[in-house]
């Protein structure tokens, strides 16, 4: 039941009422009381005057904001002279190791001041030493395009995605630019590590190019930047995080509209609205567009022109809807749109921002800000780092984890967003590795997870990190607010039956 206490007028409707009724109701609300929240002074004056005459206008809070545009994607592209034939992945690993080696060296030296650091090449049997390099895990279950192309190059259907690729015979290898050794360790240790991680390993050389693990060193939490903006932050200011809108999914139109109305301030008491005006920014973390599960077929059926066209048209509908939702939202709040695996952009990380041409209406508002995935920005002095979830989802299939939260926390400790890229997670072949975490974020969020989870970590050098696993909105109807000042988080669930979103301020 939705109550609007402000004017003592009750509009009620039941859950099973049709959508049209809801819209009618909402439009009635809109007609009856226009709560116009605006932080954009460019709107027509007459409207503002009219509003001012009758209603109190709430200004949305504004905080300093910088989007780190070039953090993940080089812009502008002047790179016309790419030598295609040199595109390979070795450069990614090389740059990763180059960045993290000095850090690992430090970590080792902190603990053992006198120990030999050895290049793999010079390793001899019975050497006790520390080596720094990249892990590689050989897994039989790992997808293998050669197997797919089989013996006689018969194209087999791609094997179904599995939840875990961990197998009995998994083997760990360790590599630097000079060579590779096989690592000998308990299965438990093998299962706790990932291909692509940079670590330092203390251990002993064995015969036959093997190395026995005694201790593994990780890079540890990176240093955290401090910004003056944070000191200027007086009141509680919030950033709203949401992921997995799945527009076009026939099941969740209602909640989506509630979300739009809530953020725009069209729902709730004046107290609620006051609270909502403290939300400075909305971040949409991937999978805004619904994508149908593709049926596994061994071949692409031949499609006629009409079939292709109708398919295209069908695909265009949710994007148009997203455009209209964005243009509605952008009227009142700045939005960062991070693309996810289902969204219409390239698929390998880093994903390019959603293209302007897809959003003819919303892009006209500067509040609409399509961003890369992964995403990094500074909001009110807080460093935000986040992804649409691919990195964690992929890594979780190749190691045994306690929880996704645990894994997410570990990535910070590894100083790497996506160790499994490029091995099992598709990424661009660039000459540097953008996924190394050189600055510790204040807020680290992962989109499109099964459930909402959060955790506050304090690092040894006074780092404070709020980790947020964002649930899919289409399944949980939940958004998450992060308090920039305290780094506290509040989930808000839009529940059709017992709605009303509980504003944190009214409850606390």
């Amino acid at each position: 039941m939705i109550k609007n206490n402000d004017n003592d007028k009750n509009y009620t409707f039941d859950d099973n009422e049709s959508l049209q009724d809801l819209f009618k109701t909402i439009s009635r609300i809109e007609r009856d009381e226009v709560n116009y929240i605006d932080n954009d002074g460019n709107d027509q004056d007459d409207l503002e005057m009219m509003v001012e005459k009758e209603y109190q206008t709430l200004k949305r809070v504004q905080v300093p904001y910088t989007f780190h545009k070039n953090r993940f994607i080089d812009q502008p592209k002047t790179n016309n002279t790419i030598v295609a034939s040199s595109l390979q992945y070795n450069t990614v690993y090389a740059s990763r190791l180059e960045k993290l080696r000095p850090i690992l060296l430090q970590q080792v030296e902190q603990k053992y001041s006198e120990i030999t650091i050895q290049k793999i090449l010079h390793l001899k049997p019975n050497d006790e030493c520390v080596m720094i390099g990249t892990l590689y895990k050989e897994m039989d279950l790992k997808q293998n395009i050669l197997k797919q192309y089989a013996q006689d190059r018969a194209i087999l259907p791609p094997p179904a995605q599995r939840d875990s690729f961990i197998g009995e015979g998994d083997k760990l290898f360790f590599e630097d630019e000079t060579g590779r050794v096989k690592l000998i360790a308990d299965k438990q240790v093998v299962d706790s590590l990932l291909t692509g991680m940079n670590v330092a390993i203390k251990g002993k050389g064995l015969l036959g190019a093997e190395f026995e693990i005694e201790e593994v060193f990780y890079p540890g939490l990176p240093p955290q930047p401090h910004s003056k903006d944070l000191e200027n932050l007086e009141d509680d200011v919030y950033v709203c995080l949401v992921s997995g809108l799945s527009i076009g999914d026939p099941n969740n139109t209602l909640q989506l509209n509630m979300l739009v109305d809530y953020i725009s301030g069209n729902l709730g008491t004046s107290k609620d609205q006051k609270f909502i005006s403290r939300i400075s920014r909305l971040i949409i973390a991937g999978n805004s567009i619904f994508k149908e599960e593709q049926s596994h077929q061994s071949f692409m059926k031949y499609l006629s022109k009409q079939e292709i066209n109708s398919k295209k048209q069908k695909m265009a509908i949710p994007i148009k809807e997203f455009d209209s939702i964005l243009s509605e939202l952008a009227k009142s709040i700045p939005i960062d749109i991070i693309p996810g695996p289902n969204d219409p952009t390239n698929s390998s990380l880093p994903q390019l921002p959603l293209n302007y041409c897809l959003f003819p209406f919303s892009v006209q508002n500067t509040n609409t800000n399509p961003t890369s995935n992964p995403y990094e920005s500074q909001i009110g002095g807080r460093l935000f780092l986040g992804t649409a979830g691919q990195n964690i989802d992929n890594a979780s299939r190749y190691m045994i984890i306690d929880s996704k939260m645990d894994l997410t926390e570990k990535t910070l400790n590894w100083r790497h967003l996506a160790p499994t890229a490029p091995d099992t997670l598709s990424c661009s072949a660039v000459d540097h590795d953008p996924f190394v975490i050189e600055q510790c974020p204040h807020v680290y969020f992962i989109g499109n997870q099964e459930k909402y989870q959060t955790k506050m970590i304090r690092g040894p050098n006074d780092q404070i990190i709020r980790i947020v696993l964002l649930p899919k909105f289409s399944e949980s109807n939940t958004i998450v607010l992060v308090n920039l000042k305290t780094l506290d988080t509040f989930p808000i669930e839009f529940n059709c039956t017992t709605f009303f979103p509980q504003s944190p301020c009214s409850s606390s």
């Binding site: 812009q75 502008p76 592209k77 790419i82 295609a84 034939s85 040199s86 595109l87 390979q88 992945y89 070795n90 690993y93 090389a94 190791l97 090449l121 010079h122 390793l123 990249t134 590689y136 050989e138 293998n144 395009i145 050669l146 192309y149 013996q151 006689d152 190059r153 018969a154 194209i155 630019e177 000079t178 060579g179 590779r180 036959g208 190019a209 061994s298 071949f299 031949y302 295209k312 695909m315 265009a316 219409p344 952009t345 390239n346 698929s347 390998s348 390019l352 293209n355 302007y356 041409c357 897809l358 003819p360 892009v363 490029p422 091995d423 099992t424 598709s426 990424c427 661009s428 072949a429």
Partner: protein, 1109 residues
């Protein structure tokens, strides 16, 4: 004085296909041997080369000893003594000839000439004499050279009338005088040692008479045999006559068998068997001539041969040392490396003891420094000369029994020897176990239909058996390519990194790490043959084959099939006092009718089809009808006999019944088949994997041997062709097939109370396919079993018609072209069986094989004709729109000659490529991959063939119509014809209308490359203004659409890029090094190259949408 003994024969791989299994190549009527193979048999019949240059043993020996010492010292670095200790064999346990017997497994047998007698050993008092050398290994792993004294070459002629013992002396003198005058020599006083008379019988023709006298002529040395035979065969040419006899030509017997094999036969020693020298019968050599740890002298008479059947210990394998090696050489740009000019830069070695899991030596000799490699010992050298010397010392030190590798016989070994000669390292070629023998390279040409013309080489290396994996695999397996890449991908499921030889020089000239990369690659090439040897159980299979057929291991790869049967025939004949005549080879012979085929009733059978097979058809016919040289009765002789004494074969030949005389061939076959049955039974009960491998190798060898007997009799240029036998065999086969058809169709019908009329829908050589009309597999099996028993009753044992399998469903397209699901038990099918279709042929592009196999799967397993049709249409549409992976369209042909008659596609292309970049162009013997590109209308195909890489790099459009019409259409029509009413429809229709058009790409530096490019609207031909980057203002509304299309292209490419390149990193085994591999046999090679280019292009297009606002 030692001489090269056995000559390795070059015919090798050519005869691989000649292994006459009953299902192959009877059609030619040549008795299982195709005409092309005739040359091989020619080669085989070549006489041993007795005119080898002679070398002075004593002198060489001294030199050798000094050299070894020096070289060892110079090649030594700090830990070399330790290294050498590791390399060497275990020391010999105390061996006292008086009290210990010496037992070893012999691997290699040859002979040599010895100038002086050894005290206490039999043989002439003075002068040269032959000794047979057995090289082997003891159970403890010590190498042995056993020199057997007292065996002399001999042969027979029929005794002319009125010749008796009293004439022997004068005959001997006359013959000796003739021989001495023709081949004067200081080494020997008498060439003819003795003339004796024995009671024998010729194997040719049924002969009920008692044994008759034959003259045995014993000579002093094997090299005199040819001449002596010639004198007796052509007495008039030499004006030679046996005293008291008129001048005439004598038929010689057993005069063309290799001397060492003759020895094995006479002593009933089989290949790879164990030999025992009892205590006191042998003595240690006082002046060893070999590098073997144990070198002994023994007498012919006291040597004991243990048959592999006589106990478990005698069927075991000794711990042979196996050395696998691979070399890299730095060729000049544009040329294939030549030993005279281009240095050897690396030699990788893997040494393993037979029976052990892991190799115990992995090392690599490198020229110039090389970073170390974990798990392998890097031995760098500054000078090539030092490296080669060190490697030779390594070989001597390791003392391998078996040298394996990939293409070592034709490349690595000759190259090393040639290189050493160019560098004037005199002692390098002393690689054999005989200190004085310098390994020599001989070139031979051979042709075969299988492999084309090839220059083949052979390297003499007494005491060490060379086992080239490429030869073994070419013999035993039909593959689309025999490159090590392809072979290891096929058998080991390992793709291997392939460094093109044009990069090798660059890597060599780089730094230590670059050379290390090369070394890792080289080591892998040395390791793969070892893995292949294990995986394919080659050592087990080949030693068993040697034991079954009685020939030494080296004969198996070096010689044809014929010698194997011959060895068995001699062994059997000897026991019965039969003599085998030596025939002059003639390439002409009457053709005879091959096997029969019951015309197929084509169609798609959705009912179970029972298949009955004659087990071991040809061997069983020979046994049942007693077909043999010794039972053949000439027609006029037959008239004199009772009809109950002989069989008249359908081809009109007469053979005596076993009652009169049991043939040798049937008895050989019986023994082979019953031994096989025993091996198979033992195999079932055996649990130890090693013994299992031995038994399986054994039963396989027995089967192959049994089948090759028929081929032996039919080989027109073989050692002992007998057209009467081979044509009788095939005629019986034809008759039996007809009988079977008659019996089945007349018994299993409605008239006899069955529910349906049985129909034979197809029959070929040894199998018949019966449609009983029943609807379940179980019923068909029941009837099949019943019918096989019924029909078998009509034939003489051991002919046996066996029910083997049911095909259901069954797609019968034409003669020898069918496919079906294969059922041996009623509940599930075993596999899909496809015969004679494009997916097993190799001269089509992979697309055809692919499509055919997918369609068959859909038709037979899923039984969904509609789906198969849909799939075919989608593939055709993908093809026409150029959406298929180019590797699917690559056709490969081997460049087997330098000059072709007329213009041949792959030769033309090879020339084109040579003009472009000689360094990467294919060379003689390489396989040339090509694709067909669009060209002028009506242009011949050879103009339209292009290098796939070039096509990728230049974005050239393929002639998809060619692939559709010339590659896909025929096989697809053949499959769909029995299934669809109008199969042609698949090739017409909407899906064939969209066809890829040539587009200008930035990569295309052709004619248009010079023009300035203007930005054009992506949706219409309008030029764009400076502000517009994607579409013109009229097409604005289409922009999102175009963007989406462009995106889906990018994402698909990104996926592929990531999958292929990460896979390449995994194969290469390195994340930090760039992938260098250029393995064109890898299924993703072209794909990953293409995706590199395509992705950059696609991203550029995508970037046009990303405008800054």
């Amino acid at each position: 004085m030692y001489k090269k003994g056995l000559q390795l024969k070059p015919s090798g791989s050519g005869t691989a296909k000649a292994a006459p299994t009953p299902t192959s190549s009877y059609k030619s009527g040549g008795g299982g041997y195709d005409d092309e193979d005739d040359e091989d048999f020619d080669d085989e019949d070549e006489e041993e080369d007795f005119d080898e240059e002679e070398e002075d043993d004593e002198v060489d020996q001294d030199e050798y000893d000094d050299d070894t010492g020096d070289a060892m010292d110079t090649g030594a670095d700090d830990n070399s003594s330790k290294q050498i200790f590791l390399w060497s064999r275990k020391p010999v346990p105390n061996l006292n000839p008086r009290s210990n017997s010496l037992i070893f497994q012999q691997l290699e047998v040859d002979y040599a000439e010895l100038k002086e007698p050894v005290e206490g050993m039999p043989g002439p008092k003075a002068g040269s004499r032959p000794i047979v050398r057995l090289f082997g290994v003891t159970k403890e792993g010590n190498s042995v050279l056993c020199k057997v004294h007292g065996f002399l070459p001999y042969f027979f002629i029929a005794c002319p009338p009125n010749f008796d013992v009293t004439h022997c002396k004068s005959f001997k003198e006359a013959l000796n005088e003739m021989m001495m005058s023709k081949m004067p020599s200081q080494e020997v006083t008498d060439i003819v040692v003795s003339i004796d008379i024995f009671q024998k019988k010729s194997i040719m023709g049924y002969n009920p008479d008692p044994l008759t006298p034959f003259i045995m002529i014993t000579l002093i040395l094997p090299k005199y045999v040819t001449k002596c035979r010639d004198i007796l065969e052509n007495g008039h040419k030499y004006f030679f006559e046996i005293p008291g006899q008129p001048v005439r030509q004598y038929q010689t017997y057993e005069s063309n068998i290799p001397f060492a094999l003759r020895f094995l036969i006479d002593k009933t020693i089989t290949g790879c068997s164990w030999v025992e020298l009892p205590a006191t019968t042998y003595k240690l050599s006082t002046t060893p001539v070999s590098t073997c740890q144990i070198e002994v002298e023994t007498s012919l008479d006291t040597l004991i041969a243990h048959s592999p059947d006589s106990g478990e210990q005698w069927s075991a394998l000794a711990p042979f040392r196996i050395l696998s090696f691979d070399i890299e050489c730095a060729g000049r740009k544009g040329f294939f490396p030549e030993a005279e000019k281009d240095p050897v830069i690396q030699i990788a070695n893997i040494v393993k003891n037979q029976g052990e899991q892991e190799p115990f030596i992995r090392n690599i000799f490198t020229l110039k420094g090389c970073s170390s490699i974990v798990g392998a010992h890097v031995i760098p050298h500054d000078k090539e000369v030092d490296m080669l010397k060190a490697w030779r010392n390594f070989v001597i030190q390791v003392d391998p029994d078996l040298i394996i590798g990939y293409n070592i016989v034709n490349f690595d070994l000759p190259y090393l020897i040639g290189r050493a000669r160019a560098l004037k390292i005199n002692d390098f070629a002393r690689l054999s176990r005989i200190k004085s023998t310098i390994s020599k390279v001989k070139s031979t040409h051979f042709s075969s239909s299988n492999l084309g013309t090839r220059e083949s080489k052979e390297v003499s290396m007494p005491g060490r058996t060379q086992f080239d994996l490429i030869q073994a695999i070419q013999r035993d397996h039909k593959l689309s390519s025999y490159s090590l890449n392809n072979v290891s991908a096929h058998f080991l499921k390992e793709q291997k990194e392939d460094v093109h030889f044009s990069i090798i020089s660059d890597l060599q000239n780089g730094d230590d790490d670059d050379r290390r990369r090369l070394a890792v690659y080289c080591l892998k090439d040395a390791l793969l043959p070892v893995k292949l040897l294990d995986k394919l159980m080659l050592l087990f299979n080949y030693t068993e084959m040697a034991r079954v057929t009685g020939v030494p291991l080296s004969y198996l790869l070096g010689r044809g099939e014929g010698v194997k049967v011959l060895s068995q025939l001699y062994r059997k004949a000897m026991k019965e006092d039969f003599l085998i005549p030596t025939y002059k080879v003639s390439t002409k012979g009457p053709k005879y009718k091959g096997a029969i085929v019951i015309e197929p009733t084509t169609g798609f059978y959705d009912v179970p089809i029972a298949t009955l097979d004659f087990t071991s058809l040809y061997p069983s016919i020979m046994m049942a009808h007693n077909l043999c040289y010794s039972t053949l009765i000439p027609a006029e002789e037959a008239k004199k006999l009772q009809p109950t004494d002989y069989t008249l074969t359908p081809s009109g030949d007469y053979f005596a019944l076993p009652r009169l005389k049991k043939g040798l061939l049937p008895r050989i076959l019986e023994e082979l088949l019953s031994a096989r049955k025993k091996a198979k039974d033992d195999l079932k009960n055996e649990t130890d994997p090693f013994k299992k491998a031995v038994l399986d190798g054994r039963q396989l060898a027995l089967k192959i041997s049994a089948n090759s007997v028929y081929g032996f009799t039919g080989a027109r240029v073989g050692k002992l062709p007998c057209i009467e036998i081979s044509r009788s065999v095939t005629s019986f086969g034809r008759e039996m097939l007809d009988t079977t058809k008659r019996i089945v169709e007349s018994n299993y019908n409605i008239a006899n109370g069955y529910k349906h009329d049985a129909v034979i829908i197809y029959g070929d050589t040894d199998s018949v396919m019966i449609k009983f009309g029943v609807s379940t597999v179980a019923e068909a099996m029941e009837l099949g079993r019943h019918a096989s028993k019924e029909v078998t009753k009509h034939f003489i044992r051991p002919i046996n018609l066996d029910f083997e399998k049911v095909y259901y469903p069954y797609l019968l397209m034409a003669k020898k072209k069918y496919a079906g699901l294969f059922w041996t038990k009623p509940d599930t099918f075993d596999k899909m069986d496809v015969k004679g279709l494009e997916n097993v042929r190799r001269d089509t592009c992979p697309l055809v094989r692919n499509v055919v196999s997918v369609i068959l799967r859909k038709l037979l397993i899923e039984k969904d004709i509609k789906m198969a049709e849909e799939y075919t249409k989608s593939i055709i549409s993908d093809l026409l729109q150029n959406r298929l992976d180019i590797s699917l369209l690559v056709i490969t042909k081997a460049l087997s000659k330098t000059e072709y008659k007329g213009r041949v596609v792959h030769n033309e292309l090879a020339q084109k490529m040579r003009a472009r970049d000689p360094s990467t162009a294919p060379n003689l013997g390489d396989r040339v991959p090509y694709v067909v590109i669009q060209g002028l209308k009506g242009a011949p195909i050879y103009e339209k063939a292009e290098d796939p890489l070039y096509v990728l790099e230049h974005n050239i459009l393929l002639d998809t119509q060619y692939y559709l019409d010339k590659q896909l259409k025929a096989p697809l029509l053949r499959i769909f014809k029995p299934c669809l009413p109008n199969p042609e429809a698949i090739f017409n229709g909407e899906h064939t209308r969209t066809i890829a058009q040539a587009t200008l790409s930035t990569n295309n530096k052709g004619f248009f490359g010079a023009l300035e490019k203007k930005k054009v609207c992506m949706s219409c031909p309008n030029t764009l203004t400076d502000e517009e980057s994607t579409v013109c203002k009229n097409c604005r509304h289409r922009e999102p659409d175009l963007y989406q299309t462009c995106l889906s292209n990018v994402t698909a490419l990104e996926d592929k890029f990531s999958q292929t390149w990460t896979q390449c990193q995994r194969c290469t085994g390195s994340l930090h090094q760039p992938v260098l591999c250029s393995n064109r046999d890898c299924p993703i090679f072209y794909m990953r190259t293409k995706v590199q280019f395509d992705l950059v292009e696609a991203k550029k297009t995508l970037d046009r949408f990303n405008v800054e606002w």
